[in-house]
Amino acid sequence: MKDTGTGELRVEAGEFLTCNVEPLLHEVRHGLARLLETGETTTIDLRGIPMSPGEEDRIMDELGQGEVKAQLSALGPSDIIETRFPGVWLVIHHNSENEVIGKFIEVCEIPQILRAQREDIHHGLAELAERLA
């Protein structure tokens, strides 16, 4: 474990790893190619993949951070971050105690959860109409 200098402690990857990092990055590469060719999106559930301490941080380091970072406030915060590879997003859901409840890599133009949802638009329209009546 090492201090990153920002007060955040990070677990360093050990001598032996599960070796799941490289295959995962290749899966992302294939997903990007598929997105360009057919428009098909890919979602990878990071919590379903065994990783040794520090390996997930390595994936985060490899993906880096791109131009977009959004935060959603619904049932606790969610971070939606575009990685340095356009079209590759990191979606991290937290509950209201800021505990992680889901961690996904999404390969798409824009994650579905960022779009305004039709049901919410209907609700918003009704509310605005009532206010103006």
């Binding site: 032996f16 049932l75 209201s96 505990e99 949802q117």
Partner: protein, 363 residues
């Protein structure tokens, strides 16, 4: 109560002020906890949106309340909490406000209103040596289980006690504890074993029922394959150390400090089927092996009688030769003395013990 149960899950969540985005987040986490492919999120969302709230009757028998604690320990709106809120929990004697006659009436009313449709959740084993060892409102666990199981659509046996007998069933099993499946033979039973089970596994089974209206695919021990399909060992991040023959020999040696495999310290990961290595505990923070402790094998039958938590799987559990060699003359003398003391103590306890009967409870 019936009108409440007519509401769909989508309606219930919207009444709680949860937006569609929040619902999608809920569905993404639910899909993940059911170990379904992430591409299934939209199908799960559609199914959950229209799912009706099932009535759930939860019976607690010979147990420690650890299973309920595992599911309800958080005060935040976790996914488990939301699923828990999405069901109509009509009877749970630890959680419900009603007590005594009113509580038992609630159980009977729920059974009558939802006969053939309710989910029966059971935690704890059932004593058969003497029904009076564990009673609720004067009714033995055995009678209450048999009566409530009759109208259930399915039974979820939560925890190793309800699934396999658990700690009460451990040798010498003084209460004659048995599992739910030893008594009920004509209903689908889902065993969610563990001591306690991982909370998201409990809610994952409920979510599966809410989503698809069916019970999940089960292994030969009637556990959901999605969570119990792989051995801890197969998905353990320390597995590469095992493959290279690198083991911690004690809890403070160099191997332990380097995070090597805990097999020689008694880890039961190779024979234990559960989702700890990927789902982890405390909202995905860690699991026992990651914290440096061997897996105890708590989701397997008779884990308490497995021959020692710190004994490697490859070492025979009853090493008679070694015991004979180690038993020196002094040791034998001490052993005999302790044996005599224990026998006397047991005789005194038996003499002073009075059994409680149903008639006593009615006085």
């Amino acid at each position: 109560m019936s009108n409440e149960n007519e509401k769909t899950l989508g309606e219930v969540l919207r009444l709680q002020g949860i937006t569609r985005r929040g619902f999608l987040k809920f569905c993404a986490a639910t899909t993940s906890l059911m170990a379904l492919p992430p591409a299934m999120v939209s199908r799960v969302a559609e199914a959950l949106e229209n799912a009706r709230r099932p009535s759930v009757i939860w019976l607690s028998f010979q147990e420690c309340t650890g299973c309920t604690e595992s599911l309800t320990r958080s005060h935040s709106p976790t996914i488990e909490g939301l699923i828990f809120n999405a069901i109509s929990l009509d009877y749970h004697h630890t959680l419900q406000a009603a007590s005594g006659t009113a509580a038992e009436e609630a159980r009977k009313q729920a059974m009558q209103d939802n006969y053939g449709k309710y989910i029966l959740v059971v935690d704890g084993s059932i004593p058969q040596a003497n029904p009076q060892y564990s009673t609720i409102a004067g009714v033995s666990n055995l009678d209450m289980l048999e009566e409530t199981a009759k109208g259930a659509a399915a039974i979820v046996a939560v925890g190793s006690c309800a699934s396999f007998g658990g700690i009460p069933h451990a040798h010498p099993n003084p209460t004659g504890a048995v599992a739910v499946s030893d008594i009920i033979k004509d209903k689908p039973i889902i065993n969610v074993s563990g001591c306690p089970p991982i909370p998201v596994v409990i809610s994952g089974v409920l979510a599966q029922y809410l989503t698809f209206g069916s019970i999940p695919e089960l292994d030969e021990l009637h556990r959901p394959l999605a969570f119990y399909g792989k051995a801890i060992h197969d998905r353990c991040y320390r597995r590469p150390f095992y493959d290279k023959g690198l083991f911690a020999e004690s809890f403070d040696d160099e191997g332990a400090k380097k995070g090597w495999c805990l097999y020689k310290l008694g880890c039961k990961g190779p024979t234990t089927y559960n989702a700890c290595a990927t789902t982890k505990w405390n909202e995905g923070t860690s699991f026992p092996i990651e914290s440096g402790h061997p897996c105890l094998g708590c989701s397997q039958p008779d884990f308490w009688d497995g021959g020692g938590f710190y004994k490697a799987l490859s070492i025979p559990t009853e090493n008679i030769t070694r015991n004979i060699i180690y038993a020196s003359a002094a040791g034998i003398a001490a052993g005999v003395a302790v044996g005599v003391m224990n026998k006397a103590k047991k005789a005194r306890a038996n003499k002073s013990h009075q059994k409680t009967t149903i008639d006593d409870l009615k006085k």
